[in-house]
């Protein structure tokens, strides 16, 4: 029984392997795919926030994009007004998102199902509109420009020339690793266990001593922190603004989460890779019968929507569930 008691060590090993794999890819891939992979890692973090919120605790959110925006804007303001380095700005972003998650969580903890879905959808609409409301602060529709900057000297002296996409990927990697490590620890520990218990049976969970509302709010807060982290990294690709975090981003992440497997960390990774690389995949696959431009443009949206419906109807556990199959998952 000593094996599972050291879940932290196991997760550490997995996280290190993950880092090594991505690092290897960062050297092997072409710049475009380096960039795509870095977006996938950002989405991975964003989807992990859904795995925590919806997968683990059973609360749906169609507004994770809004929390990503909170993270992005906080960081941009920190960088542009306080002159923070991107690293401090990222910390600030997570903190701001945690705070926003607290506010939203307090409102959301009383809601469930379609009510929660609809309300978070309105939130996803309302929060980015604040950017235009307070244009002088948030830069209006144009937003605020920030980026990863140039790779630091120590890195180039270590690795030779580092391309912009490669640097983007390498800068994202530690955060993705941290998110992976933290999430797998959370889900495999008593914290995750009690969140899942809450999801499966509120009455039994409260009889076991859990405070239902407080816990739901707490999950919202933690999940928001991850969303904020994903949001700032996504913004650091060049811009933080309403057009970076539209409602469709929230829905895209949810699609990724469901396709991959809403209860699984592996599923989050699969889902992130899928939604990022699906358009490339379709482009590659449709090369032989070259559909008209208009059809080709809407093909990724069509295919991912169909996959979403099929997943929900046929295999709600997602791809990861299919992979784990009978194995009881965590």
């Amino acid at each position: 029984m000593s094996k599972a008691s050291s879940y932290g060590r196991k997760n550490l090993v997995i996280s290190i392997l993950f880092t090594a794999l991505v690092f290897f890819l960062s050297i092997k891939l072409d710049p475009y795919n380096q960039g795509q992979l870095s977006v996938a890692l950002m989405f991975f973090i964003g989807i992990l926030s859904i795995v925590l919120l919806t997968g683990a605790s059973g609360q749906i959110s169609l507004g994770q994009g809004a929390l990503m925006a909170v993270g992005g804007f906080a960081a941009a303001l920190g960088i542009l007004n306080l002159g923070l380095s991107i690293w401090f700005a990222i910390a600030l972003a997570v903190f701001a998102a945690l705070l926003a998650g607290l506010l939203l969580g307090i409102a959301a903890a009383r809601l469930s199902g379609p009510y929660l879905a609809g309300t978070t959808l309105v939130i996803a609409l309302a929060i980015p509109s604040l950017a235009t409301r307070f244009e002088s602060v948030f830069g209006g529709d144009v937003g605020l420009t920030i980026d990863f900057g140039n790779p630091p000297a120590w890195l180039t002296s270590l690795m030779g020339e580092v391309g912009y996409e490669q640097w983007q990927l390498l800068a994202t990697l530690p955060f993705a690793t941290l998110a992976l490590f933290f999430t797998s620890n959370i889900l495999n520990s008593r914290t995750g266990r009690s969140w899942r218990a809450l999801r499966d049976n509120e009455v039994a969970a409260s009889l076991a001593g859990m405070k239902i509302s407080e816990t739901k709010i707490f999950v919202f807060v933690i999940s928001s922190g991850f969303a904020g982290l994903a949001g700032v990294l996504y913004g650091l690709r060049g811009i933080v603004g309403p057009s970076v975090y539209p409602i469709s981003l929230s829905l895209l992440l949810l699609t990724g989460a469901v396709l991959g497997g809403i209860r699984s960390i592996l599923g989050a990774l699969i889902g992130a890779l899928l939604v990022v690389f699906l358009p490339d995949l379709i482009e590659w696959a449709s090369g032989s019968f070259s559909p008209s431009e208009q059809i080709a443009n809407y093909l990724p949206a069509m295919i991912s929507s169909i996959l979403l419906i099929l997943t929900v109807v046929l295999n709600p556990g997602g791809i990861a569930h299919g992979l784990h199959h009978k194995k009881s998952h965590h």
Binding site: M1, S2, S5, N185, S189, T191, D200, A205, A208, I212
Partner: protein, 261 residues
């Protein structure tokens, strides 16, 4: 019996649902290491009483004291603190957790202060102690071999064992069992009776049960509810001959009970 000796004491408990009196001036005392059974026909208010004790229903009036201390009616999440554990009708296992995790949930004290440690993966020692306790409880319930299964893979009697283990692992002073024998075969009921007799050494037990034979074997004291009232209490032998109880169970051919429409 001195009321200070009682682990649980309820007085004048009344609950209205709309105009309906679900519980009417109910009293109940449980001494330590005693098995008290709550019986009565369907709809008599047994589950409502259980729910009131576990804080799932808010009484309109009445007092509850636990360990001699009068407390305001508890919230569900405080039960564990007071040392009360409960099984649910229809078992109520967490479907997304393994058997072991279900029981570990019972063993856990649930304070968010563990979060940072958990997130950093530093809670191994806590985890292993939780796990050891959970495995002990499962072993006691005869379900250790099921620890890695998911609740949906269990047979009904097995899931009852797991539910018992989950309640027991809380090390309660009072265990509330909701229809533990329902859906079990005779062999399994006998095993259950043994378990409960064994358990009695550790805590007091309040049990809602229909299976009278089972009740007669395990209970020290029986309360009979009908129409939200305690119509009889005492040892099973005395209670079962009480005309009011017989009438409640078998119906009356010529009743002089007041009609309530």
């Amino acid at each position: 019996m001195d009321k200070n000796e009682n682990i649980l004491s309820i007085k004048n408990l009344t609950i209205n649902f709309g105009g309906l009196k679900a519980l009417d001036d109910v009293f109940l005392d449980i001494a330590p290491n005693q098995v008290v059974a709550l019986i009565g026909p369907n709809g008599a208010g047994k589950t409502t009483l259980f729910n009131a004790i576990s804080g799932l229903v808010k009484p309109d009036s009445g007092d509850i004291s636990f360990d001699g201390k009068s407390i305001k009616w508890p919230k569900p999440s405080q039960l564990a603190k007071y040392g009360i554990a409960r099984t649910l009708q229809g078992v109520g296992l967490y479907s997304g957790l393994t058997v072991l995790e279900n029981v570990m949930m019972g063993a856990d004290k649930h304070r968010n202060s563990y979060f940072i440690k958990d997130m950093l993966g530093l809670s191994s020692s806590n985890e292993s102690s939780l796990k050891d306790r959970a495995m002990d409880a499962l072993a006691w319930a005869g379900a250790a071999h099921l620890s890695d299964l998911s609740p949906s893979e269990l047979t009904y009697p097995d899931s009852k064992r797991v539910a018992m283990a989950r309640a027991l692992v809380m090390q309660p002073k009072l265990l509330l069992l909701d229809e533990p024998a329902a859906g079990l075969g005779q062999d399994e009921i006998d095993t259950l009776a043994k378990l409960i007799k064994d358990l009695k050494r550790k805590c007091a037990i309040l049990i809602v049960e229909h299976h009278v034979d089972f009740v007669s074997h395990i209970s020290d004291e029986v309360y009979v509810l009908n129409f939200g009232k305690v119509i009889a209490s005492g040892s099973f032998e005395t209670v079962k001959r009480d005309p009011a109880v017989v009438a409640a169970y078998l119906g009356t051919d010529s009743s002089n009970h007041g009609g309530q429409l």
